[in-house]
Symmetry: C2
Subunit: 413 residues, 2 copies
Amino acid sequence: MGAEIITIGDELVSGKVVDTNSAYISRRLPTVGLDVGYHTSVGDSEKDISQALRRALNRSQVVIVCGGLGPTVDDITREVAAKVVRQPLVKNEEALNSIKERFARRGLEMTPNNEKQALFPLRAELIPNSLGTAWGFLLRERGSLLFFLPGVPRELEGMVEERIIPLLSKERKGRVYIRSRVLKTFGLTESKLDELLRGATGKRKNVKLGFLPKFPTNQIRIVVRSSSEGEALRVLSQVEKELERRVGDYIFGRDEETLEGVVGRLLKENQATISVAESCTGGLIGHRLTNVPGSSEYFIGGVIGYNNQAKINLLNVSPETLRKHGAVSRQTAVEMARGVRSLHKTTLGLAVTGIAGPSGGSPEKPVGTVFIALVDEERTKVDGYHFGGSREQVKALSSQSALDWVRRYLKKS
Amino acid sequence: MGAEIITIGDELVSGKVVDTNSAYISRRLPTVGLDVGYHTSVGDSEKDISQALRRALNRSQVVIVCGGLGPTVDDITREVAAKVVRQPLVKNEEALNSIKERFARRGLEMTPNNEKQALFPLRAELIPNSLGTAWGFLLRERGSLLFFLPGVPRELEGMVEERIIPLLSKERKGRVYIRSRVLKTFGLTESKLDELLRGATGKRKNVKLGFLPKFPTNQIRIVVRSSSEGEALRVLSQVEKELERRVGDYIFGRDEETLEGVVGRLLKENQATISVAESCTGGLIGHRLTNVPGSSEYFIGGVIGYNNQAKINLLNVSPETLRKHGAVSRQTAVEMARGVRSLHKTTLGLAVTGIAGPSGGSPEKPVGTVFIALVDEERTKVDGYHFGGSREQVKALSSQSALDWVRRYLKKS
């Protein structure tokens, strides 16, 4: 018996709003030893809400219900909850006063429908909301804990952190601890990864590996359960080491890390700077590098040379090279990288030139042909790829490969 | 009896991934007269998946199941589906060949576990996947339609558009016709839009307007229901005209149009070219412009001038201007736009300079201060903004505003 989440609202089942609350709560509950097994969204319908509540009570120890606590007529969660647990709704003076004060503080008049928000099932334990008028509540029913929270993410998140997590942590002392890690890889297919990892967890029954393709990367997730937190962390670190041994340098980051963030950190550690010359990626590499706060420390600038004249004028690519080998060639990539490096006087110069498609390909250089060059003071690395996929995928793969080159270069140096 | 959506995967119930597929499909199904009543997410567990399938068959006419069709051991949707409808899994040669070809085309070796993806329940109708190896399928069971699709959003979306919507539209002929249009706006808040549109549909009962904030834009969706397609289209066009009258130039596009796509079309129509000088956007404007196929016709190139030296050397910004007014100023923005325009000899020069944060702000120029300049042969337009939000939001708002300037400029000329 684990936990489950029910989200309520027509805006969810109609797709107007993407439900992010379920994912948020699901990420938080494992810290108190609870795994979430189900997410359910239903509209503002009494029948659907009450069925979802009854089903959840039958199968889950902890149920978190989000939404439908507002003042309007379509907010019916409190009424349905009271019916399901067969308790009358009674007015709570503390909540009522807090709502009144809230309105007064903002110089607004409280409308009668807001009074509804001070009604709770008779034996409910109240969960104050410091950011809004929709207080939450907890019902204990047939051995399960049933939490009701507002659907506004900011209010819900505050209440989860300040109230739900501490309360559950107290209630559930001595249960199972779950610890997890995500390893992000680039350059291996999902099936190749699957092959590499076969048997990696040995005989451990309390470890689960999962894959998640996130184009253009593949993520591996390690989940460890244990009755002790220390043991969970110890096993997690063992399994992580074993995976690193097997997958090696294809792992570019962990958990919330991004490739551009890792590249930025390595550039800083090496006191190195970088500039980029982009053709088919059109600015995407610069965009990614500058998504990292503080990137102005190491990212000096770039040139988007979308046509030949720009490559000649700004990057000092020789017209001869362009005529003889074409704009999409090893030679041009190298001259672009050298050109941008000397223009910006950076440690590294990175260049990408290619054919993103859907048109512009030829038999010798089909759509998806991309050359990448990375140069420093002395060395030059250049190589070609044939990427598949749409225009945006070719751009994404090109920028990912180019940044991955920088990561690998900096790790070695 | 309506429709419902089941999404499958440990990554969903654990909260590692926010489910956007359910919202996507829920927005699309009303166009074929189907309303979605339930979203359910379960982990990679046979018991949970089969229970969810059985429950859905009992209450919904159309069930769309997403995820769990991959090659790895935790992908068990096809096996569970076959059990629920009591059909054996059989190998489909067409799907197998397509998977083999896909691997061969990329010069990759097909591993045995990928063969699993060619197995389908005996009476399944196959739904090809042009973007991946996970083909979908349709089962007809007890009067309901049960669709199985891969969980990768891009693949799923392609299959929904190309296969599911046309198929459902045919199956449900003679029902209500639903026609819809999305109008994309930028520059107005949701409440302002709400105000402008009040009463816009008059007494028409068969028209519904919806809002969908999609940062940094707001979308208005018009949905018309009618027993005749002609009538539905006629009313749709009337309502659209009324909305255009009220919202005017804040509408930048329709349905699948993007701002960069509209800007590209207008540049071509005006036989104009553009170059960009980007500071705080770091390449994002170039990236967006070059996401449009054929953009090399009008996008000539750009300069990412992330520090002062780059602005002086490449864009010919005067050191005097930088010293007197700073890098983030009207004056610098104008010189950047003029510099990049003359460098690339384009019709238009566009420049953005600002402070994306989280650090780098000052009392006079707080984080979010951004200047945009657009110049042609004769005219100069420059203005400043104070954007709120995170680093990525400031970048997104800056690029959106800059491209919207270009759209408005070209519409007038």
